[in-house]
């Protein structure tokens, strides 16, 4: 992640503030920064979303293609993730600099999203063993100000909600081979059910307390973080500890409880916003980066 230099005095200041539940920008320990979400930003993708969380900006584009299903799971489609840490975020990511972070992020995303509990993969199957839909989820990191996992997971959920997959008809032609036809109507498409898609909450341990949505300065003061993916029911689907420091089991339980609380509270406003955007339909003013 892009790093900032934080002096010892600043670290002490941040630590003391968090101890008293008052962070540098006035938030409480479990408050998120100002978040903006918008879908359908890139028109030649099947689904897209842009999320701004404080200064972190993430753009997700989803393209659906027809491929052979995986041999172990012939009646399911799958998702492929690719995270591009672009040089826009910081000059350190120029050339191949952002690959390491990108690989780490995409590996975690595979674990969290690419299973039948999060997304109904069976609905992505066209004909078992032969054709299925593969969703290529491409994440583009535009600005980096801490808390990448949260912003990316919200953007992925929004983009999946926005994804329109064309309906296909399978017909058998004269020689007995299968022909796939996409329906001619551009509005005849299938939508995904994103009820069970989890959101990731990152909790950073700073001093004796933990904070949600840490900025880069707060991250520089923390020794370890916990990444939890939580569904709308409060079920924890994935748990991972990152960072060089160590956590004792007590704090892990505490942080998991806090993560569940915070994560559960994320889903409702997000779904409300997405449904509201959807209901505006064609009359919605697309802002994108121009606003």
């Amino acid at each position: 992640m892009a790093t900032v230099q934080v002096s010892e005095a600043e670290k002490v200041y941040i630590l003391h503030g968090i101890r008293d539940d008052l962070r540098v920008d006035g938030r409480g320990c479990e408050d998120y920064r100002h978040m903006e979400t918008e879908t359908d930003v890139v028109s030649n993708t099947d689904g897209s979303a842009k999320v701004t969380l404080g200064h972190t900006a993430v753009l997700v584009g989803i393209k659906a293609e027809i491929r052979k299903p995986r041999p172990m799971l012939p009646d399911e489609g799958y998702l492929e993730f690719f995270v591009d840490c672009s040089a826009n975020a910081t000059p350190e990511f120029e050339g191949r600099g952002g690959e390491e972070l990108g690989t780490e992020l995409s590996n975690t995303l595979y674990k969290v999203f690419n299973n039948k509990h999060s997304v109904d993969l069976k609905s992505l199957c066209i004909s078992a063993g032969e054709h299925c839909w593969v969703l290529y989820v491409d994440v583009l990191l535009l600005q980096c100000d801490g808390n990448l996992y949260d912003a990316i997971s919200i953007a992925i959920k929004a983009a999946l909600f926005n994804t329109k997959i064309p309906r296909v008809h399978i017909s058998t032609d004269d020689e007995g081979g299968k022909e796939i036809e996409l329906s001619d109507d551009p509005f005849d498409c299938m939508r995904l059910n994103v009820e069970n898609v989890p959101c990731i909450v990152t909790l950073c341990k700073v001093g004796h307390r933990h904070v949600v949505d840490a900025t880069l300065q707060e991250k520089a003061c923390s020794v370890a973080s916990l990444i939890i993916s939580v569904t709308h029911k409060g079920t924890v689907t994935c748990l991972r500890k990152v960072g060089g420091g160590s956590l004792d089991p007590e704090s892990i339980f505490e942080m998991t409880e806090a993560g569940k609380r915070v994560g559960k509270a994320l889903h409702t406003p997000l779904m409300n916003l997405l449904k509201q955007e959807e209901s505006l339909g064609k009359t919605r003013q697309k802002v994108g980066f121009l606003g």
């Binding site: 890139v42 028109s43 200064h55 040089a87 000059p91 491409d138 583009l140 100000d145 994108g288």
Partner: protein
């Protein structure tokens, strides 16, 4: 290509424009707070984001420092979802490297690098959606980003891609026209002095038509420069209103 006429008898192109008409340009400066300068520009369906960092100390190899001027470092990359068919690698392929070099050449002609010896200016351009004229949109977006970063330039750098069909030059090609076998020419211009920063054409064109094509390109670039100027003045007004209160 039955039915797909690049220029109809009435003089209309595939998307309904006339031969000398540019696509709609919409732009915004100061999109990202963390970068020194940033801009977003849309030209029709092609969308580009440009970000500038600098001038700052040389990163990486100190040996490439120039004692009398700044080094301009450009990177051109495309989002994997920007093209109709998903692109596997955002940058690093030959086309992107070539584009990066072209951008570097273009901006070395315009930016007053002698004011910043021994330093580096980074210009990163990202194409979010690609519908033809990638290079031109990049240059236009990068101009705005450099202005947003407060780096002095000799003049605006405006670029346009033009093509030649049926004895008529077409300004600002879209993807369908570019891939339709049109001889295309990309031109980057410094409008006030009429200086050409970059000229590239890789198709067959009769020598007699070259002058008409370059003239059409220069007119189109001057049109773009008016739009960019408007955007910069508007941005300046907005920013000064905010800081005045």
């Amino acid at each position: 290509m039955a039915g797909l006429e690049l220029l109809s008898d009435q003089g209309y192109r595939l998307d309904g424009r006339k031969a000398t008409e540019l696509r709609k340009v919409q732009a915004r400066m100061g999109v990202f707070a963390q970068a020194d300068g940033s801009a977003y520009l849309e030209q029709g369906n092609t969308k580009a984001l440009a970000v500038v960092y600098g001038p700052h100390e040389m990163r990486g190899s100190r040996s490439r420092t120039l004692h009398d001027r700044a080094v301009i470092n450009c990177q051109y990359s495309m989002a994997t979802f920007s093209t109709a068919e998903r692109k596997r690698r955002p940058h690093g392929d030959r086309k992107s490297t070539e584009m990066s070099l072209h951008l570097k050449q273009t901006f070395e002609a315009a930016v007053m690098t002698q004011l910043y010896p021994r330093s580096q200016i980074d210009i990163y351009v990202k194409i979010l959606q690609s519908d033809g004229g990638n290079y031109s949109v990049c240059v236009n977006a990068a101009t705005l980003a450099v202005i947003d970063a407060g780096i002095p330039m000799r003049d605006y750098v405006c670029a346009c891609t033009v093509g030649f069909v049926d004895e008529t030059p077409l300004a600002d090609l879209c993807y369908a026209e570019e891939s339709g076998g049109v001889s295309s020419l990309a031109l980057a211009l410094l409008p006030r002095g009429g200086q050409i920063a970059l000229l590239q054409m890789d198709a067959r064109l009769h020598q007699d038509h070259l002058e008409t094509l370059i003239d059409a390109a220069m007119t189109a670039c001057k049109g773009v420069s008016k739009v960019l100027d408007e955007v910069v003045r508007q941005h300046l007004q907005e920013v000064s209103v905010l800081t005045r209160e």
